[in-house]
Each structure stands twice: as C-alpha cells, then as structure tokens.
Amino acid sequence: MSLYRKDNQFPASRAVMAHIRLRRAAVFWAVFGHVLMASLTLMPGTAHAVVEIDITKGNVEALPLAITDFASKDDIGAKIAGVIADDLKRSGLFAPINKAAFIQKITDPNLSPRFEDWRVINAQALVVGRVTAEADGRLRTEFRLWDTFAAEQLIGQQFFTQPENWRRVAHIIADAIYEKLTGEKGYFDTRVVFVSESGPRNDRKKRLAIMDQDSANLRFLTQGDDLVLTPRFSPSRQEVTYMSFANGQPRVYLLQLETGQREIVGNFPGMTFSPRFSPDGQKVIMSLEQNGDANIYTMDLRSRKTTRLTNTTAIDTSPSYSPEGQQIVFESDRGGRQQLYVMNADGSNQKRISFGDGSYSTPVWSPRGDLIAFTKQSGGKFSIGVMRPDGSGERILTTGFHNEGPTWSPNGRVIMFFRQPAGAAGPQLYSIDLTGYNEERVQTPEFGSDPAWSPLLK
C-alpha cells in the first residue's frame, strides 16, 4: 500500500448524480418489497486532499481506519457500523481499528472530530454517523468520511429507508468508502445465488438459495424436490437462470425472484444446461446436448428465437460473454481434452486460448473485460486461475483437492468459487482477491456450491 495525498476537486454534480442513482434504486427495490428512499447532501466546504490506497500492487497492506458506532437511541448505530467494518475488513484492503483504542467519543457526528486523537492511533480515515427515526417511521442514516491527516471531509451523505433495510444502507456506505479510498467501485451492495446442499454425499438434497454477499438475509428459492444446478443472475432484472431436473427433464429455466414464477427456456429436443445471461440481459446462452454431443445456443428472451453458435461432435459448454457482448469464451474437448476457446458472438472465428498442462473449464469473463477466470485440472488437483482473453498471463490463485466454478464480484476485484474437500464433508463457498491473497470462507448454513455474484444493485 502506498498512502499519499493529491489535490482533488469534488465534482459539483456528484451529489446530484448520486441522488438520481439512488432514486432509481428505490424503483428497482420496490418490486422486491424493500423500498429504499435516499437523498444525499454534501457538507459545505471542499476537500483538497485525499487519502488513497494503491491497489494495483500484489499484496496490499490494509489501510487502518476507524469506524465509530453511529450515534443512535438503540443499538442500530453500532450494528450499521459493524456491517460497514466487516465489509471493509473482508476485502483485505482495510484494517478497521479496534474500538477499544479510540480516544475521542463521537457524540455529535456533525462536528469536526479532534483529528489529532485519530492520528495518534494511526487511523488514516475516520467514519462517523448517526441514525434517527423519521416521523413516518423511516430510518435516517447520515455518515461522514474524514481524512484524518488532511483534516478534510471526503464524503457526507444521508439515506432514508425502511428500518428493515438497515443492512443495505450499511453496504451502500461501505461501497462509498471503498470507492472513495481505492478509486474502484465497491461490491458490498450485492447478493449471491448458489446451490445449498444437505444430506449424505450419495443422496444430496440441493436447493437454490440467495443471500447478501456477507451471508445475511438467506432465502431458499427452491425446496429440494428437484435437482438444481448452476444458477446465474440476470444483469438487468430480478431474475435467475439455472438448470433443473424437474419432471425428469433436465432443462434450463428462468426464475423471477419477486414472483417465484418459473419457465423453461426454449423448446429444445434434448438436455439444456450451463446457462448464462448476455450482458444486456436479453439472451440466455447455454449448451444443448443431442445424442452425446453438446453445442452452444442462444435464445433471445423477447423474440424466443434460438441461434446455434457451435457445430461439433464434441462437448462445447460453459459459455460466458465478454462484458461488451462482442465475444464468448467457452470450453470444448474438441481437441481431446477440455480447453478454453474464444469466438465472436455470432459463432465465427473460434480460437483456442488455453495451452498449459492439464485441462481448463468453466471460463468466466471478468466484468472489467481484462481477464478470464477458470477451473484447471492438473496432476489430480483442481485450481482456480485467471488468464488474459488471448490466453497469456495465466496465474493460479488457489490449488487443492477440488476447487471449481469461479464467479466475479461486479468490480472484477474478487473471485468466489466452491471447494470440495476430500472426505465426507460437502462443498463450501470461498472468496479470494484477484491477487491470490485474502482467501476467505463465505459462510452458508449448509454445504454450498455453484455461487454466482449479482451485479451491483443500482
């Protein structure tokens, strides 16, 4: 980590733009029963210096910062501060300082803090806030982020929400802090859909489940009657595509999260599997198996038109679009073993990109476009790695008995995957920083597999 300051002007339109963004969020969440109203105000005054983390390096030294309990009549202020601190700590880029070390007790977050009290405990940044109840029952949450060494306010915002959405407010604040201090978008106001597994290994019950990225608010989407696999988020709607064996017919499905309504994608004469949305959310790309061969198809969700993209007597599967939708990466064993290939979105110009030892599978294009994450099998081990879209620069992030199925955080910084240990225990979810550092277990109440990260909730 390098800590430095530079001149910086607050964009005048920042508060306005953020306001619009969050109003859109209110509409987005209304259908889900989580109405979020928010407005933002910037404090008067302009910041001239910014504390920053350089996260372009390999092993980033975490930035020490102080996150104080938000002032409130009950424990909600401490709970919000706790969620913010947990988010930032789990990223590996921040080191929240133990509250016992704090010298100043913040009683009024609208007053300038005693910066020297925070500098002396090496808090590079300070987060303060207050939670109050509005007359209409909504929760009002204000927070400020201070650069303690420059003695400048970096962010001042307030949010209005229903009390049950307090965790979401905390994640939005954590994202704002992350973005301000790293220069990259955050990823805390997101969710994960995955397969929750229970029961013995030869009789596993599998249910689709959804939870916040910090494992809170878990909800089951299916009840375990049918085998379900590989759920993926829509980039644009409250919708998931997944594979189910309902009625003894293995098919790709769409599931509306707000209504629970589900439907089969397309009318294909065989098993459809390994689905994923296109970046605009208008297509589902998947494999169709016929007489032992698997090829890649798309279905346009508006016109219902299906298009065949590959035509082999091999297994072509795990397709994933580039963020702009121009290209598709997939795996194929057409050359004998599973390898990664890239083609244009119309199926033309299919080119192999993986040439290392072993086999490569489950490619997923980074939301930033610069990398492809994959599973690699070599020497009896299963690894998670990344390479550039031209196949160069392969880096293995984690290796072991069985690691599989990477998914990207929406800012392209963190990869989640599942790990199956040897023995009777089932798989668990893990996350790891793009650098290969900061591997963390992602808590789930049962065994977990096939994670898929949602986009940032706009």
């Binding site: 030869n202 032992g292 297994i315 599973t375 069985h402 599989e404």
Partner: protein, 168 residues
C-alpha cells in the same frame, strides 16, 4: 452408509431381500411357497422386471476415466441386455449416464450424456428399437460409491439401464 453402499454395489443383496420378503409373505398365508410356484425366477425376480434385469442380466456398465467407449466387459453386459429386451418387447428403458466426481459440473453432465448415448447406440446396433430407449444424464450428481479414490470413481462412471414398463 455401509449398507447402502453394499446394496448399490451388489445387486444380489437387493435381490435376496426381495426374495425373502416375498417368501415370508407367502408362507404366512400358506399360499404358494416357492419362487417357482409364484411364477418367479429362482432368485425371486419377476421376469421382465427391473430385478430380473439387475440380477440375471446386469443393469449397468462402467467406463474408463473421461471416456464413453464401450469396454469389452461392458459389451458382454449390453449383449445380454439386448437379448433380454428382445424377450420382453413391451419393456421400454431409460439409460442413466453418470460421471465420477473428478470433473467440473457442466462437462460431467455432457460426459454422462455421451455415455448414455454410447450405450443406447450399442443396444440399437444389437437390434433394440430406438423408440424403446430414452436417455438422461445426471453428470456427477448421483454417485453410488462415496470415497476419494479410484475404487469409488470407477463405480460412478456408469450407465444404468432402468426398466420403465410398457413402451408407448
């Protein structure tokens, strides 16, 4: 778990249990008291039933790692299945293709399908009507043997023929 494993590994155990249950029921009511009197084969299986196929013919074949080639020992089993299916022309079957757990999910679904298709194609080549054979793949999702070495993986790389009753 051990019992479950031994049942799934050794179809004979299942057959004996069925036979014991049947004979026990028969003797209690002083009714026909042997498999023969009940019109059953010596091991208690109803001719043309799943038990008959499992016990007297062999309901499953196994594959090498990452392969869908029909092995010589598997071909012998499938030859018997084809003869058996010729004897019971009203039976339709579902071939369930499976993979071991040492692969990634989507690929193993396709690999199981490839194994089921290879099995189906072999039976068709031996005169079984294509209309009588459907296939499904469970990929690596339905292991019958659970351990972390070849002794289990080799049992999970399988195609199982399941009798579905009269074909339509």
């Amino acid at each position: 778990m051990n019992l479950l494993m031994s049942v799934s590994r050794n179809p004979l155990v299942l057959g004996l249990a069925v036979a014991l249950a049947l004979s026990g029921c028969a003797s209690k009511n002083s009714l026909p008291n042997s498999p023969g009197e009940l019109g059953l084969a010596a091991n208690g299986a109803v001719p043309g039933s799943q038990q008959d196929l499992t016990l007297n013919v062999g309901d499953r074949i196994f594959f090498d790692t990452d392969s869908s080639a029909i092995r010589t020992d598997s071909a012998a089993t499938l030859d018997r299945q084809a003869q058996w299916l010729a004897k019971y022309p009203n039976d339709a079957v579902l071939i369930e293709g499976n993979a071991d757990e040492r692969g990634t999910r989507a690929y193993n679904l396709a690999l199981g399908a490839r194994r089921a298709a290879a099995t189906r194609n072999y039976l068709i080549s031996k005169g079984v009507s294509a209309a009588r054979i459907k296939t499904i793949s469970y990929g690596k999702e339905r292991p019958v043997a659970v351990c972390d070495d070849i002794s289990c993986w080799s049992q999970n790389r399988r195609a199982v023929t399941v009798v579905r009753g009269a074909s339509s």
